[in-house]
């Protein structure tokens, strides 16, 4: 395709999205909710089919857990948003004379994860439709067919429910130039799920970006943790969908006081501990296929398959490979993100040492994403949160499914995790992305005078001899 042809493709998809935005802006809450309901049902009905196609196409993860992800993206997201007002007046305060009115933002670009190609797409579609924003989805090259299926199912359902034409679009075989052109267009109101690789060094992006930082998630097991419970939760988390969740634990830091008990508990739960020789072999395997910071050859594979690749005799029923860290840095591949059921571990003598290790691991990824803590000491929780830069601090919760939200906690169920300000850039928020981020909220304000200001003599301000202390005293007199 020529450069002009590619540019025309970009212009066409944006034009259609803008038209759809115009039409969608007319719909009432009832009409909008009818569309969202229809799409959620269609997605939930096809949860297994879509999970199978995602695993088949990408080779990442497992079908059982991908079904759960599709359920979360459709049913749990729907349950979270179904009663929320996203059209017209959404808030009213008669005393203050303030009305808040929700308006759509406009066309949204959703960049879909290769590791959750169907669930991520379903989630982005539902929150966009609920907020009357047309969405344009871009898949990862490895997961285009999966996205095509999702878009077909959801779009057909949306149209049957009288949604505007082109409320859902997708963009395939995207060249680098097309992507660059698309993300810099002012017609876009928001980009979701951008990811570090997509937005880093693209300084001419006009639309605000929200989510999706990559991550390197540390997990601290404190001395007050319930060990048996903790180990089970971590194993579940790290093996969920064969470890491809970005928010799954990458390394556990174990308080030295409980290290023997913790390791014993892991060993009782079908884990395989690499010895020193096996660790070296495994590191070489990782380094032999490092692509854009990811270890592609083992991503989403089972421990048995990983063992075969490495030439290590890992028993077939192993759930998790455990490997002790000998350092935390870019030169220590085991301390970087590994999207597979491989868990690194190290020990810390006290809380502050653990906190430092957590920060070191966190900084290896894109800071701001997620951190996990298993403890029964509430004071430690607050200290931890005040120092660690992460949007999600998960307490006594499996990190992968905990970060998704809505299941193990009351976070909004989401497949996009904003990371706030970090060394790699700024995103709009630190929240789990949800419908609140996709709306413009207009404020209608009636006259409700602030009597304190109304009754204050403004001439006082113009008298240079009055200092701030005096003014403050006068301003607060009798209040």
């Amino acid at each position: 395709m020529t450069d002009i042809g590619r540019e025309l493709r970009v212009i066409e998809v944006l034009q259609k999205a803008k038209h759809a935005a115009g039409i969608y802006s007319q719909l009432s809450q009832e009409e909008t909710d009818k569309i969202v309901h229809a799409v959620y049902k269609a997605a939930l009905n096809n949860r297994v089919k879509l999970a199978k196609s995602a695993v088949k196409e990408t080779g990442y993860g497992n079908c059982k857990d991908k079904v759960i992800k599709n359920v979360i993206a459709s049913q749990y997201v729907y349950e979270d948003i179904k009663l929320k007002k996203t059209v017209g007046i959404i808030e009213e305060d008669n005393d203050k004379g303030i009305l808040k009115m929700a308006h759509p933002r406009g066309p949204i670009l959703g960049i879909v994860s290769r590791y959750s190609p169907t669930s991520d797409a379903i989630f982005k579609i539902l929150i966009s439709l609920k907020t009357r924003n047309p969405i344009i989805l871009i898949p990862d090259r490895e997961a285009e067919e999966s996205l095509k299926e999702v878009v077909k199912i959801c779009y057909e359902a949306a149209l049957k429910a009288d949604a505007p034409d082109n409320c859902i679009q997708s963009f395939y075989n995207t060249s680098s130039d097309e992507f660059d052109s698309l993300v810099t267009k002012s017609e876009l109101s928001l980009i979701i799920g951008a990811g570090e690789a997509n937005t880093k060094n693209r300084s001419n992006i006009v639309a605000p970006v929200i989510g999706d930082g990559t991550s390197n998630v540390p997990c601290y097991i404190a001395d007050t943790a319930d060990i048996s419970f903790t180990v089970k939760e971590i194993i579940y988390s790290k093996t969920f969908d064969n470890g491809v969740m970005q928010q799954s634990e990458q390394a556990v830091i174990i308080n030295t006081q409980i290290k023997d008990k913790v390791l014993k508990e892991f060993k009782h739960n079908k884990t395989y501990f690499l010895d020193d020789k096996e660790r070296t072999i495994f590191e070489e395997l990782l380094l032999s296929n490092k692509k854009v910071g990811k270890y592609e050859n083992i991503t989403g594979k089972t421990p048995y398959e990983i063992g075969k690749l490495a030439g290590i005799n890992v028993p077939k029923d192993t759930r998790l490979i455990m490997v002790e860290l000998d350092g935390i840095s870019k030169d220590h591949p085991l301390s970087s993100k590994i999207l597979a059921p491989v868990l690194s571990f190290c020990f810390a003598d006290d809380f502050y040492e653990a906190l430092n290790y957590c920060m070191d691991i966190n900084f290896l990824g894109n800071i701001g994403n997620t951190v996990s803590l298993f403890t029964n000491n509430n004071e430690n929780v607050l200290k931890f949160a005040s120092i660690i830069h992460a949007g999600r601090i998960l307490i006594n919760t499996p990190a992968s499914v905990g970060a998704i939200g809505g299941w193990y906690n009351h976070l909004h169920p989401s497949f996009s995790y904003a990371c706030g300000s970090s060394a790699d850039g700024n995103t709009l928020s630190m929240d789990n992305v949800s419908i609140d981020h996709l709306l413009h909220i207009q404020t209608i304000s009636r006259r409700r005078p602030n009597n304190r200001i109304m009754n204050f003599d403004f001439n006082i301000y113009n008298n240079e001899s009055y200092d701030s202390d005096y003014i403050e005293k006068l301003f607060n007199l009798n209040y």
Binding site: K18, H19, A20, G22, I23, Q26, P164, D165
Partner: protein, 105 residues
């Protein structure tokens, strides 16, 4: 009836639309209007009272805009709701929207 079309002279066409131009009515209107496009050089869409337009209405505008000269196709008496649709879709910059003093005789 989705649209009422009045011919003024040999080549001028004025179209008045139903209050709610949903997809079905738009398709009906498109058939009627496109059937006449060969014979007209000037066309006015009078949107008095129209409070809702479907995607197909934008498509119809696009078809007509491609067929006649830009200054020979205008859209008048656009209600604020529908004006907003044109503004969000960006079409207020490409189509000829005007507050018309035209009165149907």
């Amino acid at each position: 009836m989705s649209v009422e079309c009045i011919k003024e002279g040999a080549e001028k066409f004025i179209c008045k639309f139903d209050e709610r131009m949903d997809t079905t009515k738009c398709m009906e209107a498109e058939k009627i209007i496109t059937g006449e496009l060969e014979n007209i050089t000037e066309i006015i869409f009078d949107l008095t009272g129209v409070e809702y337009i479907a995607s197909s209405f934008l498509r119809l505008c696009g078809i007509v805009a491609r067929k006649v000269d830009q200054d020979k196709f205008c859209i008048t008496n656009v209600t604020p709701t529908v004006r907003r649709v044109f503004a969000i879709s960006g079409l207020d910059k490409t189509l000829n929207l005007m507050q018309s003093k035209f009165k149907n005789k």
